[in-house]
């Protein structure tokens, strides 16, 4: 039997298809079709002489799959490498293949969600949005370009590295490295979130508490905001953040919280508490 070998261009096809992983997301098997479609270039090549195994391979990659989309790519690489070995006669059962997939989707989502959805996107989006409020195109551009460069590099190296390392990577991912990566990015994300709570919120409470002329003849106005500013600026958004965290943990719908905050803003504006 001649050896069947995946080429670079097969892996490039997988990379291109990986950018559409979630296209047919459904509540039954989630990213299953997307995963299968991403692997089709490899399966077609490996099993072109074995139609029965080809059908089985399509079927086995239509099983439940769901993880952080950018970190699905190392799994695609690993599975492509394992399918290649299998097509060349290695004793890899369907159970092993689905075991690797099921074993990796949880840990990779656990790493990918805090890095990409918890840190990278909100930080870049807040940076871009802050600039966009001034009407500058730099805002949307910085977000779009920076996010996509990092995403495409992740998807590219995910497929390539996963294929090169194969099952070796499975052990590596179980080690401490992943934990360092997750915690490190959470540290960065939380520090920036703390800064954003102070920097990119604005609450102004112009409610006048006292008004008098001092001995130098200056007119002194003390507002609620000036007292808060002398104690701890941005304390109101900080407390609001904690209140939201509490309500979200209680299972409240975020849209309902947003509507509630709007109501507070409108009533506050109407009675002169906020401006």
């Amino acid at each position: 039997m001649s050896t069947k070998q995946l080429t670079k261009s097969d892996l490039v096809s997988i990379f291109i298809r990986s950018n559409f992983l979630l296209g047919s997301f459904n509540f039954e098997r989630m990213q299953a079709i997307g995963f299968c479609v991403s692997l089709i270039p490899a399966l077609k090549k490996l099993y072109k002489d074995d139609p029965e195994e080809y059908k089985r391979s399509l079927k086995r990659h239509l099983e439940f799959f769901n993880t952080q989309p950018f970190l699905a790519t190392p799994i695609m690489g690993i599975i492509a490498a394992m399918e290649e070995k299998k097509a060349n006669g290695a004793d890899i059962s369907e159970g092993t293949l689905s075991g690797v997939k099921v074993g990796l989707i949880g840990p990779l989502a656990g790493v990918g969600d805090p890095i990409f959805w918890g840190t990278l996107r909100p930080v870049l989006a807040a940076l871009g949005a802050g600039i966009a409020l001034t009407g500058s195109i730099i805002g949307p551009l910085i977000f779009f370009v920076a996010f996509n460069v990092i995403r495409l590099l992740t998807n590219w190296y995910g497929v390539m590295y996963g294929y090169d390392k194969g099952t070796e990577l499975v052990d590596e991912m179980g080690g401490n490295k992943m934990r360092y990566l997750t915690e490190g990015s959470s540290v960065l994300g939380l520090l920036v979130m703390g800064a954003l709570v102070a920097k990119w919120t604005s609450v102004n409470m112009p409610l006048v508490l006292s008004e008098y002329d001092n001995s130098a003849g200056e007119h002194v106005v003390t507002t609620l905001q000036s007292i808060l500013d002398s104690l701890m600026p941005s304390i109101v958004p900080l407390l609001m953040t904690f209140a939201c965290m509490y309500l979200l943990k209680k299972g409240m719908n975020p849209l309902l919280i947003i509507v509630g905050l709007f109501a507070i803003g409108i009533v506050g504006y109407a009675v002169g508490l906020f401006a």
Partner: protein, 266 residues
């Protein structure tokens, strides 16, 4: 609106809808979608400002696992059309975005449910060895997500700017639009709260307070905070490594600290 603008608008809405399920290129985020709608309709500045405002609102909207967040795609595209074509305030745009995000959420959940049908169709194609069929099932789901934003956007684009719609939008009292704009200053806390909850790392909260205090009492910009964050992450990982090595009594292999590349710092 010219017919060319109308067609481009449908393309933008279609792309935003597809991006909302893919969650790859981020065309569905307000910052990108509103800017594109502004570009098509000839008022890119309003699009950018509305996009920045709505992005703050939607900062924490993310699809993690099987949970569905409010839908940024429909909210961004439709409110941008109404604000730009109908010459409405940013405040009115915020007011419209919230119900639209809820409506979009219902639509995407509906599409993700009927896509189960494509899943079973794909099983049938797999049994026949028909890869093309599976690819078409994939494409079908993707297109439905585009259509669920493009159709509402087209309907709104047809009626936007007409006297009836403008009268309706103008009848929103000023206390509401001004109040919404005031809330726009702090509505982003919901997003921050969602992100912090998602990270679910109580023991790391001191870093959050450090960031908060530094931002309150200094003028460091966001790039500076990124650098400080990387340094904190470096020391945190070092500490964690020591802790784990002690626990495993030196059984650990490799030196993961090498992963913290110094060149990232600036």
């Amino acid at each position: 609106m010219t017919s060319m603008q109308f067609i481009l608008l449908i393309v933008v809405a279609m792309v935003a809808g597809m991006a909302s399920v893919l969650d790859e290129a981020q065309f569905h985020r307000p910052l990108v979608a509103c800017t594109l709608v502004g570009l098509v309709l000839g008022d890119v500045t309003t699009g950018i400002i509305l996009g920045g405002t709505l992005e703050m609102l939607a900062l924490g909207w993310m699809n993690v696992g099987a949970a569905m967040a409010p839908d940024a795609a429909l909210a961004s595209v439709v409110s941008a059309i109404l604000v730009i074509v109908g010459h409405q305030s940013i405040g009115a745009g915020i007011a419209l975005a919230v119900p639209l995000a809820a409506a979009g959420q219902v639509l995407t959940i509906f599409v993700r449910t009927i896509t189960v049908f494509f899943q079973h169709l794909a099983d049938k194609f797999a049994a026949e060895g028909n890869a093309f069929g599976i690819e078409m099932c994939h494409l079908g789901g993707l297109l439905l997500q585009g259509i669920r934003v493009a159709v509402p956007a087209a309907l709104v684009a047809i009626v936007a700017g007409t006297d009836t719609v403008n009268a309706m939008l103008n009848s929103i009292p000023e206390v509401i639009t001004r109040g919404l704009q005031v809330s726009g200053g702090f509505i982003v806390v919901v997003g921050y709260a969602m992100v912090i909850n998602m990270m679910n790392a109580k023991s790391l909260m001191p870093y959050f307070f450090l960031g908060f205090l530094l931002a309150v009492f200094t003028d460091i910009n966001l790039i500076g905070f990124g650098a400080i964050g990387l340094i904190c992450a470096y020391f945190h990982i070092k500490g964690l490594e020591r802790e784990l090595n002690v626990a495993a009594s030196g059984a650990s292999t490799g030196n993961p600290v090498d992963d913290v590349d110094d060149s990232d710092l600036m």
